[in-house]
């Protein structure tokens, strides 16, 4: 963490703005642009900061950045972006992407994303990432020039590998199960939390009706009037307090959501491993069969059934020269194959090593973050109860004066 970018540079996503423009298909559309501000920070001396530089980016550019990073660093658990569309909403929040609360939460999420990348020991050194933060024009072209899209693995290939790989590293299989479980449990939790929030909102808001009726009632009462009126006021306060409480809870939900999406990133690393392993296994298999073919040709024995063998039997043997030529080709191929296998093996081992290092780092980060999130959730609940105690103590006093 010593040399990571986050220490050398202050990064914030400070504003969000609605824009209209023409998209790739020349159709008018509305989108939100986010202002990224950066400032160089001298780690030694306080108060000596460079000037603030800023540029605007939209969500699709963030997506492009993340795709680039995932393809270029397949062994890294790449931090996720905040959700594209509002999910797990309860009735008060709208699912509209243009809703100011949603935009605000997304702004925070994007800032969080940049900070996470900037504090990652490997990712922070990437030039494209740096350019994303500092170079307004021509960034998209720069990314495309890296040709990273070609390196991306096809979905189909990955799926194939998942089912056919024979000897995946057990740790990765376990990790995949874990990420599946994590994803399912967090999404279930978020769904129920949204419903709980809905119900809690209802309880508080109906108390607000008390306020109105008490006040109307107090108009016809002589002795009870004052007590009723002030109690009504407290009911109104109670009903209004739920808005802030639930807004704070949304931040907690966002923290959980980040790890929901992180689970997907984890799975991506596992898939890459499976793909590499499958590749390796296929290459090894190919090599073995070529060696076998070579042997058969050399010794003239046909141990395994092959169409070539049959056709040569039916249509006559080949000449020794032809056989020699074939053996030579095969030997070349075998040598190539062996070298490839060696390098693939090396690649695989490197991948596993570096992936696993990053996974350990991720695990620590996750445990730390989630624990903090859970604690802050508990603190929120306590504060909610304290507010409740205050309101009802006041109300009780008013009632007893009725």
């Amino acid at each position: 963490m010593e040399d990571c970018l986050a220490k050398k540079m202050e990064i914030t996503v400070s504003e969000a703005e609605k824009r209209t423009g023409r998209n790739a298909m020349n159709i008018q559309e509305t989108y939100t642009a986010y202002l990224i501000e950066t400032r160089a920070v001298e780690s030694q001396s306080e108060g000596q900061c460079g000037p603030v530089e800023s540029l605007w980016r939209r969500y699709s550019e963030f997506e492009l950045l993340r795709n680039y990073l995932s393809v270029t660093y397949p062994h890294i658990v790449v931090p996720p972006l905040p959700e594209k569309r509002a999910d797990f909403v309860w009735h008060k929040l709208s699912a509209d992407n243009m809703d100011p609360d949603f935009v605000e939460r997304r702004r925070i999420g994007l800032e969080n994303f940049l900070l996470r990348v900037a504090s990652h020991p490997v990712l922070c050194q990437d030039k494209i990432f740096y350019a994303f933060l500092t170079q307004e024009g021509g960034w998209k072209e720069m990314v495309n020039e890296t040709g990273f899209q070609l390196k991306a693995d096809s979905r189909l290939k990955a799926l194939n590998a998942t089912f056919r790989v024979k000897n995946p590293d057990k740790r990765f299989t376990e990790l995949k199960h874990y990420s599946d479980e994590l994803q399912s449990v967090i999404s279930h939790l978020l769904r129920v939390r949204a419903r709980v929030a809905d119900r809690l909102y209802g309880v508080y808001k109906v108390h607000g009706n008390y306020g109105r009726v008490f006040s109307e009632w107090s108009a016809i009462e002589k002795e009870m009037g004052d007590g009723l009126q002030s109690a009504g006021h407290h009911m109104d306060v109670y009903a209004a307090s739920i808005d802030d409480i639930l807004e704070e809870e949304e931040h907690y939900a966002d923290q959980l959501k980040e790890y929901l999406f992180y689970a997907e990133a984890l799975r991506a690393v596992c898939r890459k491993h499976e793909l590499m392993q499958y590749d390796l296994e296929m290459a090894a298999q190919d090599l073995t069969s070529k060696k076998q073919q070579c042997e058969e040709l050399a010794t003239g024995t046909v141990r395994t059934f092959s169409l070539k063998g049959m056709t040569s039997k039916l249509f006559g043997q080949e000449t020794p020269e032809q056989r020699e030529a074939k053996i030579k080709v095969l030997e070349e191929q075998i040598q190539e194959g062996e070298e490839q296998l060696k390098s693939k093996n090396l690649e695989g081992r490197d991948f596993v090593k570096s992936a696993w290092a990053d996974i350990e780092r991720f695990k620590e980060q996750k445990n730390h973050d989630l624990k903090e999130a859970l604690i802050s959730y508990a603190v929120m609940q306590i504060s909610m109860c304290k507010k409740g105690i205050q309101v009802w103590t006041n109300a009780k006093e008013c009632f007893s004066k009725m």
Binding site: E181, V192, R199, L200, V203, W217, N367, Y377, W392
Partner: protein
Amino acid sequence: DTSLTEVNSFSPSVPVSPSSMINQYKFEDGPELRDLFITVDDPESHITAIETFITYRVVTKTTRGEFDSSEYEVRRRYQDFLWLKSKLEEAHPTLIIPPLPEKFIMKGMVERFSDEFIETRRKALHKFLNRIADHPTLTFNEDFKIFLTAQAWELSSHKKQGPGLLSRMGQTVRAVASSVRGAVKNRPEMFSEMNNYMETFSQKINLLDKIAHRIYKEERDYFNEMKEYGPIHTLWSASEEDIADSLKGIASCIERCCRATEKRMAGLSEHLLPILHEYLLYSEILMGVLKRRDQIQGELDSKVDALANKKTERDQFSEEIGKLEDKVERANNALKADWDRWKQNMQWDMRSTFTNVAENNLRYYEE
């Protein structure tokens, strides 16, 4: 004119002055000075060829002289309570007779003989009898005493003695007719105020009743969701190591929240909801009492009008008018005193009920 005696059965012929009635009220309202204790419990279901019904055990303990014994235990069914109420209304048209629980509850999906329904009704019946016992005038009513003490067969034979159904229907018809005639002409200011008050009060109580029910429902829905919320954390803790304990901790806290919510709901349904409902019924009763008072006044007014047209027969009528004027005055005074008493009680009830709600909420949040 058999429906005249709204004074207590000690001195049926002497009109009781308002001040002595107020004295009585102050004397009787302290619980330490009570000499009549009633409980309603032990509902039992009876099945006959014609019908199925529930009886409740009514136990009375008293130190009063006019009761032959100091302890009584009888069984009564809802019909008997209805009979008692109508007898009291007959005898004291301008006193505020406490409400009985309704025959059926339309809005809730409660079956006629579900445990919940029977228990709610039992509590309301218990309250009904105790309110009568606490009332300075009603507590000495003869029918009330019979209700508490007579055996089943004694009660049925006594029931048959009262004014028949037809005469009661006649009263109702006259009451409706007089209210149609608009017996509001000479209504004293005080009673007009009461009328206005009752209209608004009944509106507000209605709203409060609805609100309280809605809150109960929302809390129940909240409770149901919370029940699912906790176990998810436990499930999650199974796939974690480092944060497993924190997750389990949260799960158990959520569970405690659930239990606290249950207590809060119980508090609502035991205290707030029944009281609001009772005062809802009270507001109907009070409107009825005010109407009856108007009706009695209407009788006087119409006789006075009739007299105005027959100046010669004044002497003959003056006695009658005198009696009617007395009647009106007595009715008015009875109502006023009772009204004051009722309002005091209402105030006290509301105060203690809402304070109770506040305390429950405090307890909930503290837990």
